[in-house]
């Protein structure tokens, strides 16, 4: 678990250190914003981001991927924090970590193959929408000055990089934060109705300390936190594995998904034990890291450590940062996460893919739980696939007058969804001597399809024909041996009386 090739750590020192610093600067507003989403003090998100970023560097399976407190997991904690308080959140975080480690040992990462591209796009779009929606409380019932600051902040973020020379060295989100803070401070925050970070709760003023969550250690507690932990564990792994895929693709390297699952678990346990909330990999931050030249494990450590140093020593300065500056950063993250091309592709992609993508988005936005959206997407996608497979199943037949034989040729996949269709191809009214059913180019998958074949054979025999099945392939044959009854007289009796 702890062993990583040296090149993963020190193969890219300069790039990693610089990228890590850029990432740390962008992590701070995000960690604060996600704490606000979860309804906890900013320090909870900041400690979490530190702990997760640093630990995942050692135990994660994807070098260069940034993990910290995230919107996806924060959204799942809202009611737990509201109803039971912070300590239960910490306990739930530790438990989620344990579940993720178990998931790692059970190889659950392999289920990612069910997540299609459409579902993944839906996931990202939904995440972007959720991040944007989470900013709405800061944007409703506020003075015009707040809107002006957010707009100006966004302008800085997108336009500052075009400024010659400095634009390429200074991270524009940081320039945004400093500029907006100075403007707001100069004109006076309170008089203009501008909220600052200090209004959101406590910031870290010390280094984090080890603390066991202060909850009663009993079944009652487990009952409260378990549902939250399960959601957090699943969503955390989904986003982490998807992000790992994105980083794999961008860098043309491979990651160890099993190790990543266990690593996310260990990082969450560590976060919970120093008073941090649960997190996972972050798509936006990981892209910023790659874009900034970060590739190795070192970049993640630098990001975490630099973040902690900044917030602990600059907490007095951080307090006066207007929320408007953070909102601008979060809107940027939302815009960067959303797949704009997917909107254009709605017209060109197959309808089924578009429906899967949109359904994923709708369910997530509705439930605020990315896991529900992903499951919905997978389910709908599977139904479409079943439908498609059924379309490709057909039976053609030919009649040989000399021997009075009708031969049916079955082609394609016969399973629960195509069984009805399979039966409909047979002409039970035709009176012939012999019937051959050639299934060489077909496959019988489940007991529904075997039962359908049984039904056909029995019915045709009942009409007085000699029925022969040829060309059963090995896999279908085992299905047949186990579950078919048309060769067994007693079973046929039972079958016929039952229908």
């Amino acid at each position: 678990m702890l062993y990583s090739p040296k090149s993963d750590w020190f193969g890219n020192i300069k790039g990693d250190v610089l990228a890590g610093i850029v990432v740390a600067l962008a992590l701070i507003p995000e960690a604060i914003a996600f704490s606000v989403i979860a309804g906890v003090d900013p320090k909870v998100g900041l400690y979490a981001s530190f702990a997760i970023a640093v630990m995942i560097a050692f135990v994660g399976g994807r070098a260069g991927m940034i993990s910290a407190a995230t919107a996806a997991t924060a959204l799942l904690m809202v009611t737990l924090v509201k109803d039971n308080g912070l300590q239960y959140l910490l306990a739930a975080t530790v438990l989620a970590g344990v579940l993720q480690i178990i998931a790692g040992y059970l190889n659950l990462h392999k289920f990612m193959s069910f997540v299609s591209k459409s579902v993944m796009t839906g996931f990202l779009n939904a995440l972007a929408i959720l991040i944007f929606m989470a900013q709405l409380p800061e944007l409703t019932n506020v003075t015009w000055q707040v809107y002006a600051l957010v707009a100006f902040g966004l302008a800085i973020i997108y336009l500052f990089p075009y400024v010659p020379f400095v634009g390429k060295i200074l991270p524009s989100p940081l320039v945004n934060i400093i500029t907006i803070t100075l403007i707001a401070f100069y004109f006076g925050n309170e008089s203009m109705g501008i909220r600052t970070i200090s209004d959101m709760g406590e910031l870290p003023d010390t280094l984090p300390i080890f603390l066991w969550p202060d909850v009663p250690f009993n079944f009652e507690t487990l009952k409260i936190i378990m549902p939250y932990s399960i959601s957090i564990a699943i969503v955390g792994l989904l986003e982490s594995l998807m992000t790992a895929n994105v980083v794999d693709e961008l860098t043309d390297t491979e990651s160890d998904k099993k190790r990543e699952c266990k690593g996310q678990g260990i990082a969450n346990i560590g976060s919970g034990l120093i008073g941090g909330m649960a997190g996972c990999a972050m798509i936006g931050q990981s892209i910023i890291n790659i874009k900034s030249g970060g590739r190795g494990r070192l970049s993640t450590v630098v990001a975490g450590v630099f973040l902690l140093i900044l917030v602990v020593f600059l907490s007095d300065l951080l307090k006066i940062v207007p929320m408007a500056a953070l909102v601008a950063v979060m809107i940027m993250v939302s815009i960067g996460t959303f797949s704009w091309a997917s909107v254009k592709e709605l017209k060109t992609n197959p309808k089924s893919s578009s429906i899967v993508m949109i359904a994923t988005v709708i369910v997530v936005v509705w439930t605020h739980n990315l896991a529900y959206g992903v499951f919905t997407g997978i389910l709908i996608g599977s139904l479409f696939l079943a439908q498609r497979l059924s379309q490709f199943m057909f039976v053609r037949s030919e009649y040989d007058e000399d021997s009075d034989t009708r031969t049916y040729h079955v082609v394609g996949q016969v399973f629960f969804n195509s069984s009805e269709k399979f039966i409909s191809y047979f002409d039970f009214k035709e009176a012939v001597d012999k019937i051959i059913i050639n299934v060489k180019r077909s496959h019988f998958y489940d007991i529904t399809s075997v039962a359908a074949l049984d039904k056909v054979v029995i019915k045709l025999r009942r009409e007085g024909a000699d029925v022969k099945i040829i060309g059963l392939n090995k896999a279908s044959e085992t299905m047949m041996d186990k579950f078919a009854i048309h060769e067994d007289p007693d079973a046929i009796e039972k079958f016929m009386s039952g229908h």
Partner: protein
């Protein structure tokens, strides 16, 4: 040994590569195996142009992917061109030496990965001990050497010095399972068929034990066509062995290698690695 398998020769364009090719010729002439010259295209997967704007623009993923893949494409093309030059010139040398069974190939990834992937086809691996960045007098080992040796279970030849036709082999025998395997391989003449002068050297804190080990090895080895000399020594193993190498002008040191796991090596340092570092001879490592 199966004749469809081949000798894998790692060509990286370092100072030792020329000499390595000559050793490969020497060996292939004796055992008749095909020589496969392999050059690895190792990507840095690092981007030269880092952007520190720290912002996320719309469609950033697409743009970044395009930018990075374009950049790597250019890098790959250059590396491939360079690699082709290297292996082709090596191939010409092999053919000029009168060996026709030679293939030259390029592969992406790292050397240990390549060895792992080609495992079933390899009969023998030959590598140079220093990576591209080292000159021939440097004591450093190639970056991937240990991992590459661990990736295969075939014998590995490590070229460490300028080519001279080898005549004297020192066989470091300690009675371990890998060194027993080594003995039987040498006895059967699988690796090199012609006769050599083999010095069996046993180092143990107990000189009696060292002597009995040496006898044991000699009995088995004398069944082969090689002339056998034995020597029992006591003291620090590496020191004794390297001194013996120098005193007897040994060309190749044969020994079992990396019998301990990676973790053991991480904490205690690997005997094999230390031995290679402190010797000037070539090595024949049996896994």
């Amino acid at each position: 040994m199966n004749n469809t398998k081949y000798i894998l020769v790692g060509i990286d364009g370092s100072a030792i590569s020329d000499s390595l090719v000559q050793y490969a010729i020497w060996l292939a002439k004796s055992n008749g195996l095909t020589i496969k010259l392999l050059h690895i295209i190792e990507h840095s997967h690092k981007s030269e142009q880092a952007h520190h704007e720290g912002n996320l623009t719309p469609n950033i993923r697409r743009e970044l992917l395009k930018e990075l893949s374009d950049e790597e494409r250019i890098e790959s093309k250059q590396l491939i061109a360079k690699g082709k030059e290297l292996i082709n010139s090596a191939k010409e040398k092999v053919i000029a030496a009168g060996i026709d069974n030679v293939v030259a190939k390029l592969r992406h990834g790292t050397l240990p990965e390549a060895i792992e992937d080609l495992k079933d086809e390899i009969a023998f691996v030959m590598l140079g001990s220093k990576g591209k960045s080292h000159s021939i007098i440097d004591k450093g080992l190639g970056f991937h050497l240990e991992e590459s040796i661990r990736a295969t279970d075939t014998p590995v030849f490590i070229a460490q010095k300028e080519f001279t036709t080898p005549t004297k082999v020192m066989f470091a025998y300690n009675g371990s399972p890998t060194s027993k395997r080594a003995i039987s391989m040498i006895t059967q003449g699988n690796i090199y068929k012609e006769s050599l002068e083999i010095h069996v050297v046993c180092v143990n804190s107990d000189i009696k034990l060292a002597e009995s080990l040496a006898d044991e090895a000699k009995q088995v080895l004398s069944q082969s066509n090689n002339s056998i000399i034995t020597q029992a020594l006591t003291g620090d193993t590496i020191e004794q062995l390297t001194t013996y190498q120098k005193q007897n002008a040994i060309d190749i040191t044969a020994m079992g290698a990396f019998s301990h796991g990676k973790l053991h090596g991480f904490f205690f340092g690997s005997f094999t690695t230390k031995m290679i570092q402190q010797s000037d001879t070539n090595f024949l490592l049996i896994r």
